[in-house]
Symmetry: D2
Subunit: 301 residues, 4 copies
Amino acid sequence: MKIKSEFDIQFHIPKQTPIVAVLHVHPSVESRLLSADTLTVEHIVAVEERLEPIPLQVSQYIDSFGNRCSRFVAPEGAVRLSGSNVMEASETPDPQGEGLAQIPIEDLPDEALQFLLASRYCQVDEFGAIAAELFGSTKPGWERAAIIRDWVHDKVAFNYKAARSTKTAMDVFTERVGVCRDFQHLAITLTRALNIPARYVTGYLGDIRVPYAGPGDFSAWYQVWLAGQWWNMDARHHTPRLGRIPMAFGRDAADVAITTSFGLAELTHFHVESNEVDCDGRPVPLPTSTDPSAASPITLQ
Amino acid sequence: MKIKSEFDIQFHIPKQTPIVAVLHVHPSVESRLLSADTLTVEHIVAVEERLEPIPLQVSQYIDSFGNRCSRFVAPEGAVRLSGSNVMEASETPDPQGEGLAQIPIEDLPDEALQFLLASRYCQVDEFGAIAAELFGSTKPGWERAAIIRDWVHDKVAFNYKAARSTKTAMDVFTERVGVCRDFQHLAITLTRALNIPARYVTGYLGDIRVPYAGPGDFSAWYQVWLAGQWWNMDARHHTPRLGRIPMAFGRDAADVAITTSFGLAELTHFHVESNEVDCDGRPVPLPTSTDPSAASPITLQ
Amino acid sequence: MKIKSEFDIQFHIPKQTPIVAVLHVHPSVESRLLSADTLTVEHIVAVEERLEPIPLQVSQYIDSFGNRCSRFVAPEGAVRLSGSNVMEASETPDPQGEGLAQIPIEDLPDEALQFLLASRYCQVDEFGAIAAELFGSTKPGWERAAIIRDWVHDKVAFNYKAARSTKTAMDVFTERVGVCRDFQHLAITLTRALNIPARYVTGYLGDIRVPYAGPGDFSAWYQVWLAGQWWNMDARHHTPRLGRIPMAFGRDAADVAITTSFGLAELTHFHVESNEVDCDGRPVPLPTSTDPSAASPITLQ
Amino acid sequence: MKIKSEFDIQFHIPKQTPIVAVLHVHPSVESRLLSADTLTVEHIVAVEERLEPIPLQVSQYIDSFGNRCSRFVAPEGAVRLSGSNVMEASETPDPQGEGLAQIPIEDLPDEALQFLLASRYCQVDEFGAIAAELFGSTKPGWERAAIIRDWVHDKVAFNYKAARSTKTAMDVFTERVGVCRDFQHLAITLTRALNIPARYVTGYLGDIRVPYAGPGDFSAWYQVWLAGQWWNMDARHHTPRLGRIPMAFGRDAADVAITTSFGLAELTHFHVESNEVDCDGRPVPLPTSTDPSAASPITLQ
């Protein structure tokens, strides 16, 4: 299956500011690219009567998590970040690891250890007793991880209005409402507290072979380490999905913000979509939902 | 000047548990080693009437901050970690960067950017307005960083009893009491909030050419990025010191715990010291303090 | 001047639940009532083709702050709380106490002491050092209280979307955004921390002789104790106003919620207004704003 | 049974400061007094070669919870608060209300309603989901309250070093360690979250007919409202006890501090005891423990 993803994000910048963006697919999936994975950053300026895009210089680097980051200085005025890519994707929804045993800490690879630690939004150090009480009697390994994921899915309500940038896993645990990243932060924290490495993922998750669920957004999910590999988990969309395309991995959302602006940047336009396309690059029509209730669980982010 | 550092740390382990230790000097200063930088991990077992140390297998790895980490499985019973090293050290106290300009974010090296972000104990995202109000009118660069360091030093009281593992920079800001790491967390957070990269350091800081200040400990300080390099800062011991030997760098204490045990480990013995030694390896006598007040600011950690 | 206030609040109650409401004017201002201060609680039920209001039994009590509270059991279905009152009100905007000295704690009346203490949303115990640093060099008494009020007004942005029920003064101090009650909580906390008693008020604050500022709401402000009496302060609408009618006093919003429901109660309709009326009970026309910027500071809540 | 309680508390006052003390027994138990319930406040001054106590003027008032409070201005220097009383006490340990039904909120007396609300250290508003998950399937009423009490007793470890003045019920829930007041704060919060009124109590709880458990202290416990009365509960000493003498009731410790000083007051001496006495006023010998483990659960506070 081919998936085409594209985005168009625009800011009003009141005063020149540096910005770091994570808007490329993750290097670990670049081999599946069928097109260039473009990122264009432009300053939109009025030239006589017209608006002209002037390309801005962008430099790239790989951060300590292996993410491809882009840096540029946004000048005062209108700034536009846009890009697209086409990827080969699996026809199989998220693989499930039923029955997989938990890996003893001593057998974890070195690089997985950091995903057991506390981080900005995942206060693992405050959840030790809570996680043990809630999930200590479940079967270690995949079952435990899946039960945590489903518990968070069931206990937390989605509400865009309940988003705030400083919201932590503990806030989600007490308030029980949040957005995509909040679901994952709580699930990650509980999972780590029971010694299963868990890392945060941002990426594309479009409506692929599921009914249309409204305007797109970037999505967040997480991964757990079992049986020698990372497995996708998602406490918001907890049924197996097609078409997850990772852009960045980190300990939590603090590590992998789509854009980090070091000054004011007012969002003026936001468009993201990720669709299955046919050989000619045209979107494959989505199924229509016959069950009205089916639409809700698949709303993006 | 030669500095010899050594430690002997013992735990009672009620039940076999994996442990990660950061007990080597940082690879970036290994070129100054005059001896092996040893780490021995032993299980102390009673054999007939005597206690026998049985070496445990330890594996090493370098984490994403470049720290040399050691992993082992601690068996039930008594476990001892000991080691020592001798290093060549500068005769000059911490260099001071008076007058250095702040580096615009766009000119920071890629690898310094992560030290502007929020982390577990350093909620940069909650301190934006506070830092701007307190320090926004100071001169950017070295002066600003030094004023933050001195402010924290003056406003926070040292008290071993006020330590707790979950204490954040915000807790320190409101409670105004803490231990070494708490001073640094608050200073780091305020510094980052004003766009100067700051990273946490653990290491040795012995009584070197200063009066004896009581039993030793590992210490914590931090570094700020200015003029193309990292500069030592210390909100606890805020006067320039000799003999800082870094063991690990990180975003905050969550990244660089001396030991991280994934099960119970009861500390039963703790000895750390770091002394100037002469050509024969004998400790150089310390000056005696003629000013009784001089002793207090140099107490370790 | 006469002020007529009225409200009509409706809930959908999924399952019978007890409710406590604070919807009468405070007993201390009852002597200014020119009409009955009514509160009607009704169950709206469909009788044949029509909706019929069936009055519910309501009992009253005075709580420990002297507030007139109403209790009733809301049955499943639609429940409506409505009422109105007409009061004689002063023609003079909020009196100002310029130059008033702070009252030494030992001279405060017994009943004012509790308004120095920490409460649910006002963590006075966490703000001691912060308040002293920010305002310790201001002139004690009225000036200090007014400077705190204005500081909060200037530093916090109003945003309905930033409301949440668990938001504390510390959250407001770090997030710098909130609704009416959040402004007052931060100001109250800072004021108490400097030993000026401060209490939270809920009540009516209509557009009285100021340009229309949009649909009405209940409002929150606070009072400080100086020179033997309580003085109105308002960190949200910080210019003197006409027509404040107190409904309840408390330590913070936890004490004086307009309605406290002990089960689910979904708000379906909300209308509050408070207007100057003439001798015939007709609303007095409001001035129109000639200065467009004048409208913004007087928006309700 | 007769119980004699006495205390001698001394402070060094660096600079004149007002103090509020709650050091009398609660008015509701005054009818059981067999002696005067004295409180003497003295300034200890050196007169020639001797220390002389100079009585300070103390005024009393009853606060909104019905507690007898004492106010005075402590001058610079040494200040001593001492007092004693003898009370008639029941021969029966804390009555138990097994099987008592929970009171529907609509049937609670008006004055009990405030003990359902959130307060400084008891964030009921953050524990709704947590309390429901942990205890929602227990039998409402006495059983539920007792299960909460025992759960807190079992899950929280006592440690004097873990005390801090700003510690909340949520901190206790995550840290699982604390002192007497911390146990009660968590239990009170969980109890209120399930709609059983709970109030905080400070008072005497001596070693009465139990083995000596070390130097005395004031104690804290709580009460729940069932079957028309308040019942003693204690999450720290959770077995029925003799000799609880209440001094003050409140929503949490913020309301009923033994002493609230509005300036620095350094504790220099602290002695409290509460003993059964015979007809001649002599202490009744305590039983000696035959079971060494018996001593530990009855340590004061």
